[in-house]
Amino acid sequence: MLKISHLHVNYGGIKAVRDVSFDVPDGEICTLIGSNGAGKSTTLRTIIGLEKAASGSITLDGSELIGLQTNQIVTNGITLVPEGRHVFPDMTVLENLKIGSYMRKEDLQEDLNWIYDLFPRLKERSWQAAGTLSGGEQQMLAVGRALMSKPKILMMDEPSLGLAPIIVQGIFDIIKEINKQGVTILLIEQNANMALRIAHSAYVMETGELTLSGTGAELLKNDAIKAAYLGGKK
């Protein structure tokens, strides 16, 4: 279980994350929703060690992650699909996937087959330069690449960003499928509707603080959430 307690993160003088605490139980899909600049991405980047926490603690199955280097955190079983996909455009699809397993030295074929089963499209295109893929395919590749590190917890930063609705649906189906196969998922979304539908637990973040929490279904029905994020009327 990933446990975040009393986390504070500052950017210069700006307090981007203030006293945030939440748990991501094993095997669940957990989502953080909230508007732009609420501190969601910063939270994820702090968990993986790309930002420094000012105070607080982040533990994975009881062991502290704050102070570890990103590569150590990845080895511990957490991986991040960065916002905006960030595939390596000049490398082939296969090379991109291999980069994902950079921290592991064992045989990769089995894992590659697993990824290719999840995303048959990537198998067809394994020799193509990643920069020539469509947006949806690049997102699949970014997810596949992250899965190559065999994570216990997969964190995704805005997987639906800039994708057509029908492709977003596909991505979310795959997220559910990955979760069924035993990977815990921590998802950040502005597309709150989709995220809440698949989430077991959900948190709402506003200006650096958690303001609401509950199961996905509960928050979907919540009037304040409807008004703020789902386009409903008060």
Binding site: T70, L80, V81, A146
Partner: protein, 356 residues
């Protein structure tokens, strides 16, 4: 099955190509007095190819714009020069300063001396890289350029006269035994770098070049990876400096100015940033090109009429013009970021035939 056939065909072609190369070198070597000019060009090109590939490793693959090559080459030239110079001649070379006693009787065979030079270069790179690699792009370039000049200044400094012979430099360094030794060492260096580029380290280099955010999220340690690229690149830059000293049979700090770095950068850019083949081709074209154009430096007469423009120095004007044309039409370098392959070579012919 089909794939196996293809690989074996390419393998046979490669073996044939290597055999032909060895045969040509053997032919030149057999009559080395008559062909000394050709041998000189080949050796010089090979040595610059090692330097260019090492620079490409850093700039083209790891994406770190480092311009310290000449400094490391200077270091390599001095270390290899001092360690290979015959003991009996040392007092004569160091007649002014007198050679330091502890160093006086240490002499190593060429390959061992080059390895020692490379290791010293790599260690220095690790030390310098620790603060310097925190910088990015042009700042990194300025810092490494400064470092390169510092090395050069130290090598020419009076205070170290008993080691480096200061401004008199080193001379009487034993030359390569034959062209095979020179080309063989260079080929070995380039093959090692190629293997590195195609390993998972090479992928990590390209990952930090293309997208450092994603690379970091994949668990690649940015700093360690940059450091590794810098150390390996510097190792081979230092070795190439040592080779250059052996080739020139002398080493003086004035050889290793910033202009040398730019010359090598030119080879990298002309060949294609991110292509090992390109760097090798660039090294041969630039070294060879400057020689082939030498006819432009002579004055010709038709009867009493002197052909205008052709005079000493005109060669470099034409050379610079040619460079500009190449850069205009192949602005990603001759090879782009592609590598040589037999399939690629035949592909060009096939496409040509189709268009005709």
């Amino acid at each position: 099955m089909q794939k196996n056939k293809k690989i074996s065909k390419n393998f046979i072609l490669t073996v044939i190509a290597i055999a032909v190369l060895i045969a040509i070198l053997g032919f030149l070597q057999a009559d080395s007095i008559n062909y000394s000019y050709a041998i000189t060009i080949i050796e010089r090109s090979c040595i610059y190819a090692v330097a260019a590939v090492s620079m490409n490793l850093m700039i083209g693959f790891a994406g770190q714009f480092s311009l310290g090559t000449a400094g490391f080459m200077c270091l390599g030239a001095y270390v290899a020069g001092i360690l290979t110079m015959p003991v009996e001649i040392r007092d004569q070379v160091y007649y002014l300063y007198g050679m330091a006693g502890w160093l006086h009787d240490i002499r190593l065979p060429l390959i061992a001396a080059l390895l020692v030079a490379g290791i010293i270069g790599a260690a220095l790179a690790a030390l310098v890289g620790w603060p310097v690699l925190r910088l990015k792009s042009d700042y990194l370039a300025i810092a490494t350029l400064g470092f390169s000049e510092i090395v050069r200044a130290i090598c020419g400094w009076d205070g170290l006269g008993s080691i480096t012979n200061a401004s008199y430099g080193l001379s009487n360094i034993p030359a390569f035994k034959n062209v095979f030794e020179a080309v063989g060492i260079c080929a070995a260096c380039i093959i090692v770098m190629l293997l590195m580029i195609h390993s998972s380290y090479g992928r990590a280099f390209r990952a930090i070049r293309d997208n450092d955010v994603a690379a970091e999220a994949m668990g690649i340690n940015l700093f360690h990876t940059k450091q590794l690229a810098f150390v390996v690149s510097s190792f081979f830059a230092t070795v190439s400096g040592g080779l250059l000293a052996v080739f020139l049979r002398s080493a003086t700090s004035s050889t290793f100015t910033v202009a040398l770095t730019y010359n090598i950068l030119l080879m990298v850019v002309l060949g294609g940033i991110g292509s090992v083949t390109g760097s090798v081709v660039g090294a041969f074209l630039i070294t060879g090109g400057q020689e082939w154009l030498r006819f432009l430096d002579q004055t010709y007469y038709i009867g009493n009429f002197q052909i205008p423009l052709l005079r000493t120095g005109f060669r470099m004007v034409v050379f610079s013009l040619l460079l500009m044309i190449v850069v205009l039409f192949w602005n990603r370098g001759l090879m782009g970021s592609k590598e040589f392959s037999w399939d690629g070579l035949f592909g060009i012919f096939k496409r040509r035939r189709k268009t005709k």
